[in-house]
């Protein structure tokens, strides 16, 4: 279990960062040197392996790839329901439970996504979001081996999601293997579907590290902020525009 030391150090880092005010603006990247090294490694892995696999998988008919991704999504719904509850978002918990039931039955084991057509589109949640909801600060930006961009809070969230896994105890080893294959399929589908985007950021920008960092943080904060406005109606967008003030004074 190589994860334990990582988990412990992340937990410690988070406790420390939780003492200071939660920071969710600007860029907090004290580990930039290490991060950049991992970024280079990840780009090399993408170039040699993930990219080609994604490209090869892209040949598989779109509907089939979508089906595999749908099944993988459906299997992650129980974990999302738990996080919804932990976030006190009971509406979302019901929403995702209904999605699970509908897609697992009418969607033939999750291959199809009738829930979205029925007005129950995807509403992702994860333990990183739960931590944010609980007031834990974002922490530093980190680049994880293979996984790529994250923050201390999201990295810890990821580890907890893996350990929390509500389906894990219910599956026998062969089912667990099938699930892993579906997950790989989903990731390969993402890489294939958004290949232009990945490639423009990773291989066509002057500083791909800076671009990845910005893209990840902007998007993640947007997703978390959106959840906040959805359920509590608080305005989180106000602070984000200070960036323009310098240039339009």
């Amino acid at each position: 279990m190589f994860r334990l030391p990582l988990f412990a150090s992340l937990a410690a880092a988070l406790l420390l960062s939780a003492c200071t005010a939660p920071q969710s603006r600007g860029i907090n990247d004290p580990f930039e040197e290490t991060n950049r090294r991992w970024h280079e490694t990840n780009v090399a892995i993408d170039r040699a392996f993930v990219g080609p696999v994604g490209k090869a998988y892209g040949v598989v008919p779109d509907d089939l790839r979508q089906g595999v991704s749908n099944m993988s999504d459906t299997l992650s719904l129980p974990g999302m329901v738990i996080n919804d509850v932990l976030q006190f978002r009971f509406g979302d918990a019901l929403h995702n439970s209904a999605r699970l039931v509908l897609n697992a039955t009418m969607g033939i084991g999750g291959f199809f996504d009738p829930a979205t057509s029925a007005g129950l589109p995807e509403r992702k949640s994860d333990f990183g979001e739960t931590l944010a909801r609980w007031g834990v600060g974002e922490g530093a930006y980190v680049v994880l081996p293979v996984m790529g961009p994250s923050t201390e809070r999201d990295a810890l969230g990821f580890v907890v999601d893996v350990m929390l896994d509500p389906l894990g105890p219910l599956l026998d080893p062969s089912q667990t293997r099938v699930r892993s294959v579906l997950k790989v399929g989903e990731l390969a589908d993402d890489r294939a579907r958004y290949s232009d985007l990945y490639e423009s950021v990773l291989y066509e920008s002057a500083d791909s590290y800076a671009q990845m960092r910005l893209t990840y943080l902007d998007n993640r904060r947007f997703t978390l902020g959106q959840g906040a406005t959805q359920t509590t109606g608080e305005d989180t967008s106000g602070a984000a525009y200070d960036i323009y003030e310098d240039f339009y004074e």
């Binding site: 779109d62 671009q211 902007d218 998007n219 947007f222 959106q226 967008s237 323009y244």
Partner: protein, 197 residues
């Protein structure tokens, strides 16, 4: 006759001024928000027209650059992506950079238009934040879940200065990119400008 006319005119004018003054405090805000939304509504309908025009991709880039110059405050965007350097260069250098940057943006993002063909952008609502209007839209593309796009319109110029896709700011992204390119050009804006075209 002329006197009468003058009186009438001034009467109308002062009446109008009074009417304006009485509604101003409320109307000024609503008017500007509506104006921002109207601007983006027009830009979006032009963009929708382009992505469904059936023209070649190269023709679409040209059309896209026209929309960009008409609806975006490219001079401010160019200054913003240059950062502090913008204050140290001559106006000639800045103009040359702005032109080059405009073409670079049209080409860079225009090439992504392929994904938008057959799609549609819808304007949802507008939110005022300080001197910024956030015009929130939804992009509905074929075979993809709808996603959020925001045009950020600035008060002073009445044009948009940023486009955010699912929270990802293209202005910030270009600031990082141009900053890195400027470093690569050894801090020379002329070299940077030359590298963009």
């Amino acid at each position: 006759m002329s006197n009468h006319l003058l009186t009438r005119r001034s009467l109308i004018a002062s009446g109008a001024a009074f009417a304006m003054a009485s509604v101003m405090p409320v109307a000024a805000f609503a008017f500007s928000t509506a104006q921002a939304e109207t601007l983006i509504g027009k830009a979006v309908s032009e963009i929708n027209g382009i992505i469904n025009s059936g023209k070649s991709e190269n023709q679409m880039y040209v059309d896209f650059e026209k929309v960009l110059t008409r609806y975006a405050d490219t001079a401010s965007i160019a200054r913003s992506v240059l950062g502090p350097t913008a204050r140290t260069v001559s106006s000639g250098q800045l103009n040359a950079f702005t032109k080059a940057f405009q073409t670079y943006v049209a080409r860079k993002y225009g090439s992504r238009f392929r994904e938008f063909i057959g799609g549609e952008i819808k304007v949802n609502r507008t939110q005022k934040v300080n001197s910024i209007y956030d015009v929130q839209c939804t992009a509905i593309l074929k075979g993809e879940a709808p996603f959020a796009i925001s045009f950020i319109v600035h008060d002073a110029s009445g044009k948009f200065i940023d486009l955010q896709i699912e929270g990802i700011s293209l202005l910030k992204s270009e600031r990082a990119e141009i900053g890195a390119l400027l470093d690569k050009a050894g801090g020379s804006i002329d070299k940077l400008t030359a590298s963009l075209v």
